[in-house]
Symmetry: C2
Subunit: 402 residues, 2 copies
């Protein structure tokens, strides 16, 4: 999917190359809600929070939004009060352009940490950004938030939700520094669904937890993560009531559509993990609880030794068992089992031989596969999606700033 | 320091190339205590424990030891009951050779996980191992436990401890997979001190916590880690009483000597971290407690983005702040300060400019330096030693088994 994203009623988009990036690539983007949209947002759990996170988190609380300003090339993180003022200046300029209050404008940034935004350069670009708004501009917006990303990440879902014919479109950015708990990752989702604000918050939190918070690239979490969901309500042409809860009037169908947009975005982030060549879904079962299973899955997904073994297409089950064993929750070493792409290579804690490993190795040469780990304790289960760890990752991150 | 390790009264050593490693390098080693030595041991906290750990942990409880058998090239981990029997068979052969019970023989293994030990090959090597015992064989022993290690790790400390003139010598093995909580790391320490068993346990646990548990190579912990301290008591020629507690009769001096042997061994492990080119001491202060400080220091020390920045000699303080912010304990973002090799680059959460960063960058080109992070909350402090993350690490671990 690329530039041909379907329209969603109530939204316009634009992007410009303001000059934040030396490369001349698109580096500022705007989502404009024609009328005030119902909104919900989720922010990084890192205690060190970038200025756009600090400002947007407060503004997002009221649940209504007129525009989202985004930039790449500079994260505006660790910039103190100056950084906060820069967000206020830029969002005020956008607000003036669309005839609203600054409080109706959110901002998201990604890029290098610790440098002031080039506010003058960006202020000069705001009029053009406002001028270029188009209903079919979403692809450009998706490209404007890329940093080391190799491809833009977009997803679409459509369906009948109660009495509404709903379309949901989203885009995301993220390459290195991705871990559960929202790591340098931006996600923007817009829909014409008519959704009550409280329910939109619940649905957004649940979908984020089930998708973006289940991916790992390098276990680091960022100062700038943000997921924003905007709902214009335009799908409700019949004057019916907005979606209010999961259990009634299409609420569950809406939640399902939201996950169907967010999950491919999350997987695309892993696929585009810096230097990644394999996407691996870690499915843990047999843990004492789902929570335990998730801790084990993450330990495996974040282990550099496991990730380098994935890179070498090596069914090194000893590293998988060792990672599971150090998750800090119960596992039964002599009850553990491992399958790679359905091929059993460990049973009752011991290997099943070289022949099985050869089969597994063949599967591991593929771009995407599933590793199942049963830890032999209870009924808890969880999935996490991760990628391999390559020399390229080190090269990218050893020289990102220079 | 290499082959010329000083003698310690009461101990003999040997090593052979039994053929576990295809390379023909030394792969079996023996420490023989001429008379039963007082002993203390610390084992991996991983729930998946190799057979030699399972067996040695039980035997170590009695606090007396006649011999330690070690091998490299095969970890005897995830080998089920067969693996345990193999340990029993091999240690029984050593016990017969020195005229003791198998329960007096500990075993330590390191190498690939999930394969049975080549017991026949190893049993054939036991007589030679027994025959070659020499008081000056410690250097060979140190080499026999190496796997991907580039150099042997040995250390010596001597001093007056109460009425005893004590010598402590140690060696260690460890390269990849090193993290706090005892990660694929073997440490052996022997001394002629006369030490009460309870006190030796306390001193060993404390010294391990202050040294081996403060290092990070890649955050993975292993199935096989073990630190063994053996005390022959031969330094007590005067019929005095053994060292019994920290507060009296030289106990504190003994603890200090023990740390003076273990700390250089721990640092050598980091220096020899797979692909490591820089050794970096992370000193955290200003945390709410020492425990919090340690969590923050570890988060920084384990962050792939921080470690790749170290590799690129990049004073990327944003990554340091972001890692501190996601440690799960309080930090004050606008009160944080960072120094690299004494050069302040961040104060009150914001950068101090490019000039300071250039100075820091010059320091980071060195092989060893200190990074100080003040998180601005309280008085808690902790140090952790880590290394950078290089392409070489990925190469080594992506192809270790093939």
């Amino acid at each position: 999917m690329s530039g041909t994203l379907p329209f969603v009623r109530g939204f316009e988009f634009s992007a410009v190359a303001a000059g934040i990036k030396k490369s001349g690539a698109l580096d500022m983007g705007l989502i404009h809600c024609e009328a005030s949209a119902t909104s919900a947002a989720v922010f990084t759990q890192n205690l060190v929070r970038a200025a756009p996170v600090v400002v947007s988190e407060v503004r997002a609380k009221k649940g209504r939004c007129r525009a989202v300003l985004a930039n790449s090339g500079n994260a505006n993180a660790c910039t103190g009060e100056d950084g906060v003022r820069d967000v206020e200046t830029l969002t005020a300029a956008v607000a003036r352009g669309i005839g609203d209050e600054p409080a109706g404008v959110l901002m998201a940034s990604t890029g290098v940490i610790g440098e002031r935004l080039p506010v003058d350069v960006m202020m000069r670009a705001v009029p053009e950004l406002l001028l270029r708004r188009r209903a079919d501009g979403a692809g450009d917006f998706a490209r404007s938030i890329m940093t080391t990303d190799k491809f833009e990440k977009v997803a679409v879902a459509e369906g009948r939700v109660g009495r509404q014919d709903v379309r949901i479109v989203g885009c995301a950015k993220g390459a290195g520094m991705i871990a559960p708990n929202m790591a340098t990752m931006l996600g923007f989702v817009w829909t014409d669904a008519d959704v009550d604000n409280l329910f939109l918050r619940e649905a957004t939190a649940a979908a984020t937890d089930a998708t973006f918070n289940r991916i790992v690239v390098d276990g680091d979490t960022s100062t700038n993560d943000m997921v924003v969901v905007l709902a214009s309500g335009r799908a409700n042409g019949h004057g019916g009531s907005p979606l209010r809860e999961s259990g009634r009037g299409g609420g569950a169908a809406f939640e399902e559509l939201l996950r169907r947009v967010m999950m491919p975005l999350a997987k695309a982030i892993v696929k585009d993990g810096e230097g990644a060549t394999h996407v691996v879904e870690i499915r843990v079962e047999g843990a004492a609880s789902d929570k335990d299973a998730r801790l084990i899955a993450r330990r495996i997904a974040e282990s550099p030794l496991v990730k380098t073994a994935f890179h070498g297409c090596d069914p090194n089950w000893g590293r998988l068992l060792a990672a599971a064993g150090r998750a800090g929750v119960p596992v039964r070493p002599d009850g553990m089992a491992i399958k790679v792409g359905g091929v059993a290579i460990v049973k009752r804690g011991v290997g099943l031989g070289k022949e099985r490993e050869s089969e597994a190795k063949a599967i591991m040469r593929g771009a995407e596969y599933v590793v199942e780990v049963d830890v032999g304790v209870g009924k808890g289960r969880a999935e996490v999606v991760t990628c391999d760890f390559s020399e390229e990752y080190v090269r990218i991150n050893g020289s990102y700033r220079s």
